[in-house]
């Protein structure tokens, strides 16, 4: 997703649409060009290589079956793919969340992780706008939003990890989401 030029974006859209028409070569090429990104996403959420491999496999199996439903007018191929892999990873987490609930190492590892300035230069305008809006949140709330996004934790898990009451966590996240929406809308993301 990083450093995807408009041309690359179009190519991936094209490959996904061809996959939707059961073009196996296009599907293989799509896998070649996107699987590292998706595997990174799965690994980040699941923290376990073999689980991430299974989810990656499920993701692309679903891509093959559902690619015909992809609409380039609604989302880019890469967003569609990353979303699918995140959803599969979150579903997997929900299946056995008890085991992962109280692992104290997880919060520290994923604390506020801004990219380095060098990496920042390679990110998209959309990312930089989002980062700008995240910066306007209270530090604790910003950390919670990131933690939620990158680990797929539930409100309950987040509250436990951050040692705050569930209600506090809910209001932090909800307020943050509404603030983000307002901020992004002002910057013209939805236009």
């Amino acid at each position: 997703m990083s450093v995807t030029s408009p041309a690359e974006r179009d190519e991936l859209n094209q490959l996904l649409m061809q996959t939707g028409r059961s073009d196996q070569k296009a599907f293989a090429e799509l896998y070649k060009r996107t699987s590292s990104k998706l595997f990174g996403v799965c690994l980040r959420m699941l923290r376990d290589r073999s689980e991430a491999e299974e989810v990656l496999q499920e993701t692309y199996t679903t891509v093959w079956r559902r690619a015909a439903g992809f609409d380039a007018g609604k989302a880019s191929a890469i967003t569609w793919l990353v979303t699918l892999s995140r959803n599969k990873a979150i579903d997997r987490l929900r299946q056995h969340r008890e085991e992962l609930l109280d692992d104290p190492s997880r919060l520290e590892e994923t604390a506020d992780e801004r990219p380095t300035p060098a990496a920042d230069a390679e990110t998209s305008q959309e990312y930089r706008r989002l980062e700008h809006c995240l910066d306007e949140l209270e530090p604790q709330q910003r950390t919670s939003v990131r933690e939620a996004f990158f680990t797929g934790a539930t409100y309950n898990e987040l509250a436990t990890r951050c040692k705050v009451p569930l209600g506090t966590m809910k209001s932090w996240i909800r307020r943050s989401l509404m603030q983000l929406r307002t901020c992004l809308d002002q910057l013209g993301v939805d236009q």
Partner: protein
């Protein structure tokens, strides 16, 4: 009809769905809405556009080649598996079951298998970077055979003789360098081939002086990083014995003729 307040609440639920904080039931409810109502789908898509740029900062990690092979097999694709050129043979379970009869045969056969595309008149044996081990139980029966593909840094471990395990215990494979401490390779299956990725540290230790061993461990693997249960099988690692190549080529050809579809 949605009131303004409803819209606000729904919108929040869609945002929470995309962020990933909803529990299983609430997620399922939103997923159902996305499938059935255009409004939900649009609202979720909008939140995806807002939040998904965060994934740009996630590092890419190249998945092991066998993941594509599994996808390829699960979907029964017949497209050339360009992502992993030799997938067809490596992941052919029938071939593995057949090869499970003995590691030296496995290694020899692989030498030939790899050179098969060049076969016209006589088999040409090449050193293709494979090693093998027969992991024997104390009673002499072959427990597993292991074949190491050095180029692709992976090992396939095929069970040969069923081994009984008590509930809550499973076999773990270890690499034992000559005079060194066991290094965990991974958990292996009792009833089907297991493919394991070999990291560079393990690869560096593979060789004719090293051995493989299987011990009885808790389901998640040894908690200490060293074998904690009984060692039930072991075997030395050997390079592919090329002297047997031609003989096995004949066997393989017959087998290939029989299993080809």
């Amino acid at each position: 009809m949605n009131t303004v307040a409803d819209d606000g609440n729904n919108n929040l639920r869609y945002a929470e769905y995309v962020l990933g904080v909803l529990d299983a039931d609430a997620r399922a409810a939103v997923a159902h809405e996305i499938e059935t109502t255009g409004e939900a789908a649009t609202a979720v898509a909008l939140w995806q556009r807002r939040l998904m740029p965060l994934t740009e900062t996630i590092d890419e990690v190249v998945p092991a080649p066998y993941v594509w092979a599994r996808i390829h097999d699960a979907l029964q694709l017949d497209a050339p598996a360009r992502v992993q050129p030799r997938k067809g043979l490596w992941n052919n379970l029938q071939l593995w079951h057949w090869l499970g009869i003995g590691a030296s045969v496995v290694a020899a056969a692989l030498v030939v298998v790899v050179s098969l595309p060049h076969l016209t008149t006589a088999p040409t044996v090449v050193n293709a970077g494979y090693m093998a081990a027969t992991i024997q139980q104390d009673n002499g029966a072959t427990g597993w055979t292991a074949t190491m593909d050095l180029q692709h840094a992976r090992m396939v471990v095929v069970p040969a003789t069923p081994v009984a395990f008590v509930r809550g215990r499973a076999p773990e494979l270890w690499l034992i360098p000559a005079g060194g401490k066991p290094i965990a390779v991974g958990m292996i299956a009792l009833d089907k081939p297991t493919t394991l990725a070999l990291d560079p540290a393990l690869l560096a230790q593979l060789g004719p002086t090293a051995a493989l061993a299987v011990s009885v461990e808790p389901l998640g693997g040894s908690p200490t990083g060293q074998p904690t249960g009984a060692v039930i099988a072991k075997g030395a690692i050997s390079g592919a014995p090329d002297a047997q190549g031609a003989k096995v080529a004949a066997i393989y050809d017959r087998q290939a003729g029989r299993t080809a579809t």
